[in-house]
Symmetry: C2
Subunit: 654 residues, 2 copies
């Protein structure tokens, strides 16, 4: 596929004016008819269940009338939906969908395969395995060792990642119990590099065996006794079977050391769903430790080291560390390479270790930028030349390349994969991990563990059960048309980055007087954050109220007519953003960091524009939505100031 | 809508021979063009991002060629998918999808709304709330008090149900801690009907406050102190914040009574995903207590009472009881009314209580059978007359009517709602429950608790985040065309029941000699289970191998040509099926129940046919797939016998 992506880009989407409508309609009709003829040709001798004369019956006709009428009603309603397709939408991380994914979804939905098991999805389970392999290769995993699958979205994918992480972390404890019961001895490699006998290890040491060493240990255990005995004794000591309540009690008894509650370290920018996840898993939100940010909104590696050190001193086990590749609010990319260095140092100097997960739900597809057509890596300089800007920094490429060393990575095709909802994905570096959470459905006969990629039954290893094969086909077809490298997704995401940088520069330099745009730093990918101020706004609360009003005027919540452009907003709060906020507060001149810290849930309202529009950077011949936006923003500011002054609201400005 | 459903039925589906292809194509093209014109008319002054001349570029053309070619490849592959639409498919619980749901999904997918928040799904979040209200009304909840939403499927819905149940169960403990910290006293109603002061209650008593009383207590607590203080003190004592490890320790200290691990009671027929769920939640699979079945494959209420009694004596708290409405394997409907009576008796006689959940993922839509067009209940006699058979028994109607008293119910539109994957649903009787698991996204400002049905932000209350608005629209449109009563889903499901009974009778009476069909009892809904035997099959293993071979010949796994009909199979194992198996073993004459019990994972292979085809009961003018099936089964048996004899396999028959 030697296609020039600059031209191909214009065939990837239906287009903001539905320019490719004919193409999509042709493919839709073709897919539908193809399916229809499949039904017609399937045992033609079966005759017809619905005759033409049936269609003349009153009941039939009334039903068609109801269906048509209600559909027309739905279509009319949908005109009040959000125009994600338009260059005028600059809000959340939703944009166009690729034509390939739309048609892949629709065509396959007619067949309605269920990827829970190969028996009811002989085609699309294979496509799902293939897609997982493509994503694994993109982020730098070895597809023959790793494993992955699609989920309904990022939250479930992240949930599974932490569920798997916990299962690995407590596995050495279960193995020690099993080995004792079986009367066998096993060597275990410790983080420092030394080897010890499993029966000699303290609880603290067992909880700090590395992932690979734990899985190797587990592999060896199966060779020491009959399968059923290993299974039984492992289960006797596994957290999954025993449950937290009894498990804690038993470890306190067995090791004379009550198990300290394991913590989960997350970037302060981590998605709010991590709190749901630790609550649901029974870990508890008190054990969710948010790590400080640096001024680029990335996890601060030095602060991480200090924290890890402190936890080790207090002998608090670390279940997992969650780094982010593309934060939801700012698209910041943690320096995962430095995070991994902190772990290596902790192994060497402190004798502890932990699972490293990268939540790349938003940013994962950006790894396509680092791939040449042949799969090899592009240099940062090569990418910068292609983008025509000083993005990405060498550091950024190192951070993205480090994804291949994370123990697990989640990446959502329904975000920067530009496919319809719902499609998330989880990838684990060592595919053996999945067996730790396997549950057998009743109809499976006793089987040996299948090798990665040969699963007949995904439902055995994943949290969800029934799942749409159509989603797998949508992602698969989209990857066929837009490969996960510089020719496809890489180029697409480069264009959004170029657009975001143009947008950022335009806001930073625009004459908005008497208003002032305060910009957050240039984003690591393509989410631009900013806020507006005015000399009359003297307090944090006044600035927030003003920006909320600007937001309302630039959202579909506006009641006095459609907005010219649509944006969204977030709130930066203390302590999560303590490390990053000072430069912003200084520019706003609305009090010190201390006041901000004291504001609690109020925090700082920040406006947000996710640039998913690939045409923004070089808009010709279409209208320039950067200049258009700046004008609209100025008008919204003026209206918001006037509205605030008129509101007589105690919160109003000045 | 006075439509006669007998005629309307023929307009509901594309049809086994795609008889309604013109209708579907018309609606698909109309929906697509409607969307296209929306784009065209949205700010017409914006010009075009893709010009006609761009479409003449080599890169563009090559890309279209790639897309078309790969799509053709996918369409060809899909011909190897499963013909769920055909009367020849008699396997898993997947059938046709309604045209309404197909077109609702497709039309809405073009807009790609995300029901995580109203801001990016202003139309479809409303449709989702509406759909939840319709399902609530169908099962007998008061929509103004209850709450519900769609999920990606049954596993996530059931997961949420147990997560919510746990949150309610431990809430009184948190409230007691908060009240003590705030220095206030609160009256609490106990299961026996007496009232006590919260500070006087033992841990055991706190864990046995009823759901409604717990939520009332919680409501009262908010009135006793400022919002922030209640929030803080409740959090200080909540399991969600503290996590199991520290929580167990703290309760042991505070109450001088280590918290016994809470158990979850489930029907022995409960879906295997319940094991996943208790493992992931940290409850542990050892705490999953399977209850015995009666000979109708339903939970045995007397055995339940005995078990509850035993648990109360040992002071093991019961987190929740899971009853099933439509088991995955047999479509058995537990006598939920009797289960609820057991709970009432436990409250009266033992002073204990627990959350009652009905897993109606499969059977929930059958509640539509009990509804007249005006929403009132049909009598069992009325339904029997309409079905033209002796189904349902009065008992069945009582069991289904009892859904309205369950604390939570899960029901999957993507099963008997005949909509495309993925759409599950959870309903809770008391909508206040959802606040117990709420997590705030960063951009929400501090808000008051919204009333049910007014949510702007579903993601706050649910496990998942991003979710397809298209799924909500699909279910919504389908409910518009097939109402949840005798005119729509009720009639549809009646027809499948009638078909299942005809199928069951035909197999039971067919002359298959020398083979014998051993039938499981008539199903409570529409899944028929059976197995085949032959005089030469003298052992359980021989019967299993034979039935596995029959299954293979009647599945897509068959390699010597396409199967005439497609079925599936399961394994009944000890101890889950101990209460139901004896009559089957007696008919097979292959050893006693003891031998079966000793067979462990081997169990008994049973063939399964889910009858989702509404045309099976009265097939004219189409071919009779009951008679056709019987013939195909006889041929498969003969082939399987021959194959077994020829295999020389140590497992082969005689």
């Amino acid at each position: 596929m030697p296609t020039d992506p600059r031209d191909a880009l214009r065939a990837w989407f239906l287009g903001p004016r539905a320019e490719n409508a004919e193409l999509l309609e042709r493919l839709v009709v073709e897919s539908l008819r193809d399916h229809v003829f499949w039904r017609r040709n399937y045992h033609p001798e079966d005759g017809f269940a619905i005759r033409e004369t049936d269609k003349r019956q009153e009941g039939y006709e009334e039903n068609v009338a109801t269906l048509t009428q209600e559909l027309m009603g739905l279509l009319a309603e949908l005109k009040r939906d959000v125009p994600f397709f338009s260059g005028r939408y600059k809000g959340h991380m939703v944009g166009e969908q690729t034509i390939a994914s739309q048609i892949g979804y629709f065509a396959t939905m007619l067949y309605n395969p269920n990827n829970i098991a190969l028996e009811i999805s002989p085609v699309t389970t294979r496509l799902e395995v293939e897609v997982a392999g493509q994503l694994a290769r993109m982020i730098g995993y070895d597809p023959s060792r790793s494993w992955g699958h699609l989920t309904s979205g990022g939250t479930i994918a992240n949930f599974e990642a932490l569920w798997l992480a916990r299962s690995v972390r407590y596995l050495a404890v279960a193995a020690a119990g099993a080995a004792a019961e079986l009367g066998i001895e096993l060597p275990v490699r410790l983080p420092g590099g030394t080897t010890a006998s499993i029966s000699e290890l303290s609880l603290w040491e067992l909880l700090n065996v590395g992932n690979d060493d734990t899985l190797d240990l587990w592999d060896r255990l199966w060779g020491t006794a009959p399968h059923a005995d290993v299974q039984r004794t492992l289960t006797n000591h596994s957290l999954a079977a025993i449950g937290y309540q009894e498990y804690s009690r038993r470890l306190a008894m067995d090791y004379g050391d009550p198990l300290p509650a394991g913590v989960v370290l997350v970037a302060a920018t981590a998605h709010y769903s991590w709190e749901k996840i630790v609550r649901a898993l029974g870990i508890g939100s008190n054990q969710l430790v948010h790590l400080p940010l640096d001024q680029s909104y990335r996890m601060d590696p030095e602060a991480l080291w200090q924290r890890v050190n402190g936890l080790a001193r207090r002998r608090d086990p670390i279940l997992a560390l969650v780094s982010v590749c593309g934060t939801t609010e700012e698209s910041a990319v943690d320096r995962l390479d430095q995070v991994l260095e902190v772990r290596a140092r902790a192994e060497r100097e402190l004798g502890i270790t932990f699972h490293v997960h990268s939540d790349a739900c938003y940013g994962g597809y950006a790894a396509a930028v680092t791939r040449r057509a042949d799969g090899s890596r592009r240099t940062a300089a090569e990418i910068r030349k292609s983008v025509g800007d000083d993005w990405p920094a060498d550091d950024w490429v190192r951070a993205v390349e480090a994804l291949g060393q994370a123990d697990s990575v989640t990446v959502d095709p329904h975000k920067m994969g530009y496919v319809p909802y719902s499609a998330g994905a989880i990838l684990v570096r060592d595919g053996r991990t999945r067996h730790l959470v396997a549950t057998d459905p009743p109809y499976l006969s006793p089987v040996e563990l299948p090798a990665p990629g040969t699963e007949r039954f995904l439902g055995r290893y994943i949290l969800e059960g029934s799942k749409p094969g159509a989603a797998a086909a949508a992602v698969w077809l989209s990857h066929k048309v837009l490969p996960l490298d510089e020719r496809g997704y890489g180029y697409l995401i480069e264009r959004t980055v170029a657009g975001a940088r143009r947008f950022h520069a335009a806001l930073a330099t625009a004459d908005l007087s008497p208003f002032l745009a305060v910009m957050l730093p240039l984003p690591d990918i393509n989410i631009v954050c900013y806020l507006l101020s005015h000399p009359s706004l003297a307090t944090l609360r006044a600035v927030n109220d003003f920006n909320e009003r600007v937001y309302t005027r630039m959202s579909l919540a506006r009641t006095d007519g459609p907005p010219e452009y649509i944006i969204t907003r977030t709130r930066l709060r203390s302590p999560a953003y303590d490390g990053a906020i000072d430069p912003i507060l200084a520019l706003l001149a609305v009090g010190s960091g201390d006041e901000w810290k004291a504001s609690g849930a109020e925090g700082l309202v920040v406006l947000r524009s996710t640039i998913m529009d690939p045409f923004l950077a070089a808009p010709a011949p279409a209208p320039d939505h950067v200049n258009g936006f700046v004008g609209a923003l100025r008008r919204a500011c003026a209206d918001a100031l006037e509205e605030g002054a008129g509101a007589g609201d105690p919160r109003s400005i000045s």
